[in-house]
């Protein structure tokens, strides 16, 4: 099929079927647009890069992008899931044939809610140190432990779970990856109140919950490898996770919002402020230029080391922008509440900057990754890498 034929076909299909407008959706939980998404799935537009006998069309990347562009042009959701649907891609790559046939169509239509059960109170940066256990029983496993930083746990039907299935081998080699059914006794979800006074995350307490045999993804004790696939998709989904001001109403927007805020605060003539505005705005613009250059280099087939820098760059941008906002406000930043939206913004952004500088790998872990994978510096010696996990010191 030529590009032109494909474009004609997808546009005609959208013209015949797409009536609505896209509603906002959180990344987690059941999708309110399930009926539309099922239609997209059945027409083969959801995952066109996948094989034609499994919801796809076997298209090459460039043609798949034609489909995505056609959907984007009319604002229709559901395309491009072969790049963005963390859950479906993980299941496609690693689930048993039977479970894959059952779960993947539901995932593509957003008919099941999902959550992530990775981090634990004792396993944050050192994720392979998880202590949630899955013990073999007839027909499956019994799971016990505690997970944290789980979004959407209340409405999830399944959690993508890593749990320890062998305690007598080194830490990376005794982990397995499961789709844990969430709606069962033994799974208790408690909201976690954040420093921003929001509760996007939960703690999940798991006590003797059951996961069937068929819900194991990848080999037993091979969960660390499955997790790497899943994390790669998650990073691409979360690429632009940084949020703007919460109020959404207060003040100017965009890269240069700080200029407008300074003007409103009557401080745009202050030479000290102007220096800080320039530097802070520059960091954001430089990050965008880096990303543009990385994309261009990737398109030319040269590998780019810049992509890995974006998250670290964004941490500094967010912390510094919040600092400068606070500087512009002065004592007004001591206040909060709906009457003081600018203060709300500055204070929220100050606290929420940690979402990026801690979440998804702290800045310190990120620097390790850049140092080791990009610059080729040797790893720190790891004292627990080769000894049985049972003997690893914790606490």
């Amino acid at each position: 099929m030529t590009d032109e034929q494909l474009k004609t076909e997808v546009e005609a299909w959208l013209a015949a079927n797409w009536r609505g407008t896209a509603t906002h959706k959180e990344s987690f939980g059941r999708d309110p647009r399930a009926e539309w998404l099922a239609k997209v799935r059945d027409a083969g537009w959801a995952v066109p890069r996948w094989p034609s006998d499994f919801y796809g069309r076997g298209l090459a990347d460039e043609q798949a992008r034609i489909v995505e562009r056609a959907f984007a042009a009319v604002g229709a959701p559901g395309a491009g899931q072969d790049r963005s649907n963390l859950w479906a891609n993980t299941a496609l790559a690693h689930a048993t044939p039977a479970f894959r046939r059952e779960i993947v169509p539901q995932l593509l239509a957003g008919e099941v809610g999902m959550c992530l059960l990775y981090s634990e109170p004792g396993a944050g940066s050192d994720l392979a140190a998880i202590r949630t256990r899955a013990d073999k029983v007839d027909g499956g496993w019994r799971v016990s432990g505690q997970k944290v930083w789980t979004s959407g746990a209340q409405i999830a039907d399944y959690g993508m779970l890593i749990a320890r299935t062998d305690w007598d081998v080194p830490k990376h080699r005794g982990i397995s990856f499961f789709f844990l059914p969430m709606k069962q006794p033994g799974v208790e979800v408690r909201p976690l109140r954040q420093i921003t006074d929001e509760a996007h995350f939960n703690e999940v307490f798991i006590d003797n919950a059951f996961v069937p045999e068929d819900n194991l993804l990848g080999p037993l004790n091979g969960g660390w490898g499955v997790l790497q696939t899943a994390l790669a998709y998650e990073r691409s989904v979360m690429g632009d996770a940084a949020r703007g001001p919460r109020s959404g109403a207060a003040g100017p927007k965009g890269d240069h919002a700080l200029i407008g805020l300074a003007r409103e605060a009557g401080k745009l003539d202050d030479p000290v402020i102007r220096q800080q505005l320039a530097q802070t705005i520059a960091w954001r613009v430089l990050n965008r230029l880096n990303t543009q250059r990385a994309k261009a280099e990737l398109q030319q087939g040269t590998s780019s080391s810049i992509m890995s820098l974006g998250k670290l760059a964004m941490s500094r941008i967010l912390h510094e922008e919040a600092r400068v906002r606070t500087l512009l406000l002065g004592v007004e930043s001591l206040l909060e509440g709906a009457e003081h939206p600018r203060a709300e913004d500055a204070n929220f952004l100050t606290l929420n900057a940690y979402f990026t500088s801690i979440g998804g790998g702290t800045d310190q872990i990120q620097r390790n990754i850049i140092g080791e994978r990009v610059l080729g510096l040797p790893k720190e010696p790891e004292v627990d890498r080769t000894i049985p996990f049972r003997e690893v010191r914790a606490g």
Binding site: V285, L286, A313, R367, E372
Partner: protein, 346 residues
Amino acid sequence: MAGLTADERAALLDSLRRLLADRCAESDVRRIMASETGHDAALWRALADLGVVGLTVPEQHGGAGLGAIELELVMEAAGAALLPAPLLSTAIAAALLDGERLAALAGGYSIAAVAFAGRDDWTGRGDVRRDGAGLAGTARFVPDAAIADTILVTLDDAVFAVAREDAEIVPLPVFDRTRRLADVAFRGPATLIGDGTRIAAARDIALIGLAGEQAGGARRILDMTVDYARERHQFGRAIGSFQAIKHMAADLLLEAESATSAARDAARQVAEDTPARAESVALAAFACADAFVRCAKDGIQMHGGIAFTWEHPAHLYLRRARSAAQLYGDSDHWRERYVRALEVEA
């Protein structure tokens, strides 16, 4: 102006890098630094033969007819090698000159130094002014003036050419001996060669070239530092395995990559003459200056004692970074200009 294809561009840069590796190695840089003029005529000839000297000179005047994008890339390579040669001065002069003067420049037979002496310029150094039909006063800190046969002077609305014998050129004792500076006193005779229309473009060329030089220098000193951190062992481990070193290296990579992005973006905005031109040039000016200084400074710290010695090249990069950070306005100046450009939009 015909641009190059990606392959042609890569071939040009590859030839330049090989020439620099061969003729501008650290030992050559040190030899040229120690010489009286700080100039290697044979190296300059080789650069001219390669077409790099006349890079931005139009083809009908014997140049390569290329623009800001290629100049920036060439300057990255030159900066990485600490090339002590009047490459940037020549590119700026090419933006101010016409006709036969251009041909001599492109061929490498004439060297022109440029003194930016307008009111709006960053330097504010010296007191050059019109004197009848000529010039009076002194331009300070003029790069490459001592080896130039012609000094070009830009005022607010005029460009003058002054023959070296009509000026008094006093070389300055410079901290960065890879970039020679001189004070130039004018005694009257000067030829008016243009109005002010080309000055802004010449100033952009100066800033883009310098930004490229800084980005290239930042990346090279970072690479040297990372190589050393992989080799050097203390406490039975490569020092690069310590997070104290590794984290500094990661931060420097962000600075160096950002500098490269900024310099290349500014070159593109200028080449395409977009509305973002002033803004992106100002951004490159301070982002590249600060990145180079930081990479060079931290590079020495990360090396430890070895880089505190004269024999180690790291200090040559710090010297170059510090001279570049002052040459055409300091970072505070360009941050202020950046905000001014943004204010218009916001």
